[in-house]
Amino acid sequence: MRTWLPALAVGCVLALIALGSVLVLQPGSEPTAARTDALARELRCPDCQGLSVADSPTASAQEIRRQIDELVTGGATDDEVRAHFVARYGEWILLAPTAPLVWVIPFAVVVAGAGALGAWLVSRRRPLHGSPVRPSPEERRRLREEADVLDA
């Protein structure tokens, strides 16, 4: 029981860190200018290589930024803004894929890998043959004393 407790603790900490960073990186509902910026970072500049509309200096990127601003101040939700451009360019215009599976797969792989590693490490520690020797209470007390001396 005690042997896997540290591993569990480390795993929990890592999971919390991961969860925290994912949550932190989600866009929320914010004032208009921030929303325009956030949306501009999600949309791909049509005539660049992979840059977002927020980062790109081209004329088409600037025009798309203007349109995002118009739509947002006109009351459109984030989803409606995205849908507006997807209707014209297809899913390609979104820099991040929409299918949830695509987001889950990398984390699933890491968790599976860590799990496999943990299982492998733990499986190794089980005694291979014979039954474990059981110390008598006297022996156990002595063992504890010796161990304390060493750890001090």
């Binding site: 005690r2 992979g50 980062d55 200096p57 820099l95 991040a96 695509v102 984390f107 590693l117 190794r124």
Partner: protein
């Protein structure tokens, strides 16, 4: 004349590498030392051939010999000599020639140095390296001939890619990267040799350690140099866009780093044979995959070239290398399954193994994201994008976990750690981390990623510093040395460990710089008439005037420049421009960056109106960016420190005595 010499050199290189590969295989089976020598000489000869080829290309570039198609496409009469020389690696065919030079260089160096050692392994190492190099010479002979001629010869060439001319740093970035890529074939060759000869104990790992660290260092510096170039030159204000070509460089780096760590475990404790062999194969295959992705045109990228005949060749090479190595691995699986296994669930070994899982997870994620558009297009015909938002969300948590592990790992002992050891080692650092995060919150820092990274970095950094201080103190006490002397002496006698500390601390510096610069960066786009002012961060930016004129260094280039004065934590004047190169359809941005240790002021020109002199500027204040580059350089220095041989007495090579002569005369009795 010169092109013919170059082409002949390539053909000779092909012949020599093929001969060397065959000779080495025969030498391995027969044990004939003369075959070994002859094969080694052939490899060195292939290096000379590659050097002659490169020299011929450079001469053609400098003399503007437009009869050579590569020169006509990448050079012009107005091209300055320096740019002409670095154009060797500017485009496809020349870059393969340069690659061949470096690859044959590594092979020659390695085979010469170990000509009298590791006799069972070296012929197979030589055969592998020669085969790989033969592939590159073959590509230059058939689909990608750098010395292909054009007729009729044009009077003027296209000139180099506009992006190359804008910054002298182009000289450094590809060579560093290529030194890394080509060097990573060496550990692969040793892995193959170990698998073939069944010498799967830890010997090959020991030999390979330095030969992995050196190319790893170059690859790291090359990637950081690429990021620096992207930031300083491209003008979009960032340094990493998760473009396929960037990912292509990152992928082998990730597996190489994983290999370095798991090799340490395997070397020390044995075992992990399947894993280390798989890692070294993956690293090499990924260098080919990366090169393929950027040269084949199957994935759209900033760097990609249009689809050419080279693509299928690289694909064949990838599949052969992967298929062949995997077959060998599977074949030797029974021999690989032996070896000890690491102890304790909580120990340095398990931390290193978790590190490998995380690095492999990152590799999978980056590969998945890069190839997903291809997969979707192949199956459904739809086009999707996988860009920075996805990559950032997926990789940042894994990087943070790795950062955490980076602090814990070296603080855990080899073997089993007890919970009480862990408690005593981590309490103070954890406390410090909480204290620093609380202070940052108190002074007004709210951005979560920056806060988190700062706190984590404090914990990790203090663990490392505490390790160093404890060791130095013990030594200082026992030998009566001053603290600085003690630390230095300790470090130079434990180069691996202290080099490792230096590299990890530098990575920490980079991590904090990356987190803070992305979390706390501010930017705005403003349109200013001459005389108008805008503010950003602590700066006041005043647009003075718009100037349109040809470049003094190259009159064919028209520069539209906004001249701007700025005041604040830094003050002065700058010019940010858009340059119109005759051979480029889009204008090339030339951002102005004013760097201080605390922050960068970054100004790009987006648009201008010549009639009114009005300009649209994109202004950025990016905190701590310079520490990314400083950190990168420090990683190089730290790795160099680890690689530098330790002064532990002179190395004596003991020759095994030659076989006793057949006839022995016994005098006397």
């Amino acid at each position: 004349m010169i092109p013919s010499i170059g082409h002949a050199a390539v053909l000779i290189g092909l012949g020599l590498t093929v001969y060397a590969a065959v000779a080495y295989v025969l030498a391995a089976r027969d044990g004939d030392p003369r075959l070994n020598v002859s094969a080694r000489r052939a490899v060195i000869g292939s290096f000379v051939a590659a050097a002659i080829g490169c020299a011929a290309m450079i001469v053609s570039l400098l003399t503007h010999d437009f009869s050579v198609r590569y020169v006509a496409e990448n050079n012009a009469t107005t091209t300055p000599p320096f740019i002409g020389v670095i154009s060797l690696w500017a485009a496809l065919e020349g870059s393969i020639l340069f690659w061949a030079l470096l690859a044959t260089g590594w092979a020659s160096l390695l085979l010469h140095r170990y000509r009298d050692r590791y006799r069972p392994l070296m012929p197979w190492v030589g055969a592998t390296l020669a085969t790989v190099n033969a592939f590159f010479f073959a590509v230059m002979t058939w689909p990608g001939n750098p010395f292909a001629l054009t007729a009729p010869m044009a009077a003027e060439g296209n000139g180099p890619n506009a992006l190359l001319q804008n910054h002298p740093f182009m000289a450094l970035h590809p060579p560093l990267l290529y030194l890394g890529y080509t060097g990573l074939a060496v550990p692969f060759a040793f892995g193959i040799a170990a698998l073939v000869t069944r010498r799967l104990d830890e010997e090959w790992l020991r030999v390979v350690r330095r030969w992995t660290l050196i190319p790893w260092t170059f690859l790291t510096l090359g990637i950081v140099a690429g990021a620096w170039w992207s930031y300083e030159v491209l003008g979009w204000g960032g340094y990493w866009a998760w473009d396929p070509v960037e990912n292509a460089a990152l992928l082998p780096w990730l597996t190489a780093t994983a290999f370095i760590h798991s090799a340490m475990v395997a070397e020390r404790r044995g075992g992990l044979r399947i894993w280390t062999s798989a890692m070294v194969i993956a690293t090499f295959v990924l260098t080919l995959v990366g090169t393929f992705l950027t040269r084949s045109g199957v994935v759209a990228s900033v760097h990609s070239f249009t689809q050419s005949a080279i693509g299928p060749w690289f694909l064949a090479a990838i599949l052969l290398a992967l298929g062949g190595s995997l077959t060998l691995l599977v074949w030797r699986l029974p021999d690989l399954a032996g070896g000890d296994r690491p102890s304790g669930t909580v120990s340095r070994e398990s931390a290193f193994l978790l590190n490998n899982v995380l690095f492999l997870g990152l590799t999978f994620a980056v590969l998945f994201g890069t190839l997903l558009p291809l997969l979707v297009a192949a199956t459904s015909g739809d086009t999707i994008s996988v860009g920075a938002p996805w990559f950032n969300t997926v990789t940042v948590p894994i990087f943070i976990a790795l950062l955490f592990l980076m602090g814990i790992g070296p603080a855990l002992p080899w073997g089993t750690a007890s919970w009480s050891t862990a408690r005593e080692r981590f309490t103070v650092p954890l406390g410090l981390g909480v204290a620093v995060t609380a202070s940052a919150l108190a002074i007004g820092l709210r951005e979560p990623t920056s806060l988190g990274t700062l706190g984590l970095a404090t914990v990790v950094g203090s663990i490392m510093v505490e390790e160093i201080v404890r060791g130095a103190r013990a030594r200082a006490r026992s030998r009566n040395e001053g603290p600085a002397t003690a630390t230095w002496r300790l470090a130079t006698r434990n180069r691996r460990r202290y080099g490792g500390y230096a590299v990890h601390l530098s990575v920490l510096v980079m991590a904090v710089a990356v987190a803070v610069s992305s979390g706390l960066a501010t930017d705005r786009t403003v349109t200013l008439a001459p005389g108008e002012t805008a503010t950003i961060g602590g700066y006041e930016i005043t647009h003075d005037r718009l100037v349109v004129e040809p470049l003094s260094s190259d009159a064919r280039v028209i520069e539209t420049r906004a001249e701007v004065t700025y005041a604040g934590p830094q003050s002065g004047s700058l010019g940010t421009a858009l340059r119109d190169y005759p051979n480029s359809q889009a204008a090339i941005a030339t951002p102005a960056v004013r760097t201080s240790l605390a922050e960068d002021l970054y100004v790009t020109l987006l648009a201008s109106d010549q009639a009114t002199g009005t300009v649209t500027l994109h202004l950025f204040v990016n905190p701590l960016v310079v520490w990314i580059w400083i950190g990168g350089a420090m990683v190089g220095i730290g790795a160099g420190f680890a690689i530098w041989p330790e002064r532990r007495g002179r190395r004596v090579t003991v020759e095994r005595p030659q076989r006793a002569p057949a006839a022995v005369t016994i005098e006397g009795a």
